[in-house]
């Protein structure tokens, strides 16, 4: 019995699934890292992921090409974050309230559009999805082959984007400016940094990452969009960002943990372990709370997080 459970949990298939399930979380966490490093609390990740997921399927449906769908998703993510950015930066909206408003708006909008386009409220028809790719020389290596040899291309896209994001944030002058803006906007301003521009850039970048992450949910993981298919992943991503100390690599590590729990949960539902599925499904949510409660004791968010700053005030 116990060995059955362990066999399901510590199984290469579970790790493989964990890697895939961490994609939207890790991209969302990095999106959270960029906006929060620039001083903006981004509760809107959930809505941006959802818009990305919808636009991905819409793009694939209209053009017949899954990759163009991913492009649609990236643009949708950016546009959604632009709305958020205008409300936050121009209209000085409370970050958290506006984020929740954006998420409610995104849920209503995507469900409405689904009915307008496909006439259904539950799920879209199946569209062309992004197929898994085989990497020949990796495929033959024992463990790595099973994990990375045949994998969704989104895994590689995610890993490349996380690495690029980390370099951008910690190794470039622009990254320094972003971090400076979140820590001390007044000082950044006096150094000639255009605080407003930096905030826009960081938020739009957030939207881009979320768009791609959302596209994975609808085009990589599945080949359709369903109502509210993000189901709280945006908030989990934000928790992963905090656990990962506002660092894309840390966020990736935290997301792998969440992805693993999610994969485990799904696989445990497949075998009878004497625990109701309702309880098994709670695991990722419980873990998120536990991680968050444990992580924030030691972590220090950017100093000016949640503040509004106007040049010349």
């Amino acid at each position: 019995m116990t060995s059955d459970i362990l066999a399901v949990i510590f199984n290469l298939n579970t790790f493989n699934a964990a890697l895939r399930l961490s994609i939207p979380l890790a991209l969302g966490a990095m999106a959270g890292a960029f906006s929060e490093r620039a001083g903006i609390i981004n509760i809107g990740l959930e809505g941006m992921l959802l818009m990305g997921a919808f636009a991905g399927v819409f793009g694939s449906f209209v053009t017949g090409s899954a990759w163009l769908g991913v492009g649609f998703a990236a643009v949708a993510g950016i546009l959604t974050s632009l709305i958020f950015a205008i409300f936050i930066i121009e209209f000085k909206a409370d970050h958290v309230v506006a984020g929740v408003g954006l998420n409610i708006l995104a849920l209503g909008f995507t469900t409405w559009m689904m009915q307008m386009i496909w006439g259904t409220r539950g799920a879209s028809p199946s569209v062309a999805s992004v197929p898994a790719i085989v990497i020949y020389f990796l495929e033959d290596i024992p463990v790595i082959g099973r994990l990375l040899g045949i994998q969704s291309p989104f895994v590689y896209i995610m890993l490349a984007m996380i690495l690029a994001g980390w370099v951008l944030m910690f190794k470039t002058p622009l990254g320094l400016r972003i971090r400076f803006t979140g820590e001390h906007p007044e000082a950044a301003d006096s150094q000639g940094i255009n605080v407003k521009k930096i905030k826009y850039f960081s938020l739009l970048l957030s939207g881009f990452f979320c768009g791609v992450g959302g596209a994975y949910l609808s085009l990589g993981h599945l080949s359709q969009f369903s109502r509210n298919m993000t189901a709280g992943r945006g908030y989990m991503a934000l928790a992963a960002n905090i656990f990962g100390q506002w660092n894309p690599l840390g966020g990736l590590a935290a997301s792998l943990l969440f992805g693993f729990t999610d994969a485990m949960q799904m696989r445990l539902q497949g075998i009878d372990i004497g625990l109701a599925n309702d309880l098994i499904q709670m695991l990722p949510y419980v873990l998120t709370i536990a991680v968050l409660a444990g992580a924030v004791i030691k972590s220090r968010p950017p100093a000016a997080l949640g503040n509004h700053y106007e040049s010349g005030e």
């Binding site: 708006l105 209503g108 989990m236 409660a293």
Partner: protein
């Protein structure tokens, strides 16, 4: 006479007139954008708004539907507002409401044979306690570890929906295709206002709780402490207020009001706990609180508005085939616009500039 004078003075001194106006502008903008949406997808906006009105205030039946939707929204909006006043964003109303509902159903089934005068308040109270306990968890986590309540409460919502389903299916389910508990006895049912009518007296309980909340927040030292912590935790600490204790307390109070939202639904019209019964009252409660700018009295009006939109939205979907997700879009827009003080400033600036332009 004296009372009337006092009332007039209170209305005159009401500092929130501008914020009321502000909320009105936000609603109007959201409705206009909603109308643009309707037109953009080829619907007749007059038909849509006709059904929206007809389904909410057009007849006595519609009005009862509106009030039915309004009742849980008063509790939910109030719960969110209490959190806000104390500097906390309780998105967990949905989960607290589920536990309140299940607890009331379970205890209501046990005490059904008691006299109504005891059984009914006990059943209500149990719902409030259950919601309070579910609010206590994120409150404690926030106070002790700093875990942001927005994330923890959303996770707790999912856990509550799964948890109440688990409990119902495994321990309290009656035979049948729907996962639900047995029907409650009349002694623990909140009676309709008009015998045989649809509007339960739950709305009267809601109004009483609004009054109690107003009193708690504005007339007691606990309310003062809560609001001080909400305005500035640092100042509160200097003033000798234990802000971590206030955080926990605020979440417990907020959660118990949310629990009542669930209790009154199942003790009112539903008459039993049904799994996944809430269409998202807790989330609409956020829109209610934001629109009311956390003023308990204004929550009544905001809840009525959103209750009307919910009821009218259903009619609109049924008769005009316009998806009622439009209501969700309007809610999201209302929250965004109310949360953004700069938007109105932009409008007024535009207006004064235009006036200035006209003069020259």
């Amino acid at each position: 006479m004296k009372l009337l004078k006092k009332l007039i003075e209170a209305i005159k001194a009401f500092e929130s007139w501008s914020s009321l106006l502000y909320s009105l502008v936000a609603i109007i903008i959201a409705l206009i954008l909603g109308a643009v949406f309707i037109i953009a997808f080829g619907y007749d906006v007059r038909v849509a708004f006709f059904h929206l009105y007809n389904g909410s205030f057009g007849s006595l039946y519609s009005l009862s539907q509106t009030l039915f939707q309004t009742t849980p929204l008063i509790f939910a909006g109030l719960a969110v507002a209490i959190g806000f006043k104390s500097g906390l964003f309780n998105i967990g109303v949905e989960g607290q409401l589920y536990w309140g509902a299940l607890a009331s159903a379970v205890v209501g089934l046990r005490v059904g044979s008691w006299p109504m005068a005891i059984a009914l308040p006990v059943t209500l109270l149990v719902g409030a306690i259950a919601g309070g306990i579910w609010g206590f968890i994120p409150g404690l986590l926030k106070a002790k570890t700093g875990a942001h309540e927005v994330i923890t409460t959303i996770m707790l919502n999912e856990i509550a929906i799964l948890g109440t389903t688990f409990m119902t299916v495994n321990y309290f389910k009656v035979a049948g295709p729907v996962d639900q508990t047995a029907r409650l006895a009349e002694t623990v049912r909140i009676p309709p206002i008009v015998p045989g009518g649809d509007i339960s007296s739950g709305i009267i309980i809601a109004i009483i709780i609004v009054g109690l909340t107003y009193f708690l927040l504005n007339k007691t030292s606990l309310g003062y402490d809560l609001q001080t912590v909400g305005n500035s935790p640092k100042a509160a600490e200097y003033g000798g207020i234990k802000s971590s204790r206030m955080t926990i307390l605020a979440m417990v109070i907020s959660g118990s009001v949310a629990g009542l939202a669930g209790s009154t639904i199942i003790m009112g019209r539903l008459g039993r706990f049904v799994t996944n019964f809430s269409p998202g009252y807790g989330f609409t409660g956020i829109a209610v609180a934001v629109l009311a700018r956390n003023n308990p009295i204004a929550v009544l009006l905001a809840a009525l508005l959103f209750g009307a939109l919910e009821a009218g939205g259903m009619t609109m979907q049924l008769f005009a085939r316009i998806p009622n997700d439009l209501i969700g879009i309007i809610q999201g827009l209302v929250i965004l616009f109310v949360a953004a003080p700069g938007f109105i400033r932009l409008l007024t600036k535009f207006k004064t500039r235009k006036e200035a332009g006209e003069r020259t």
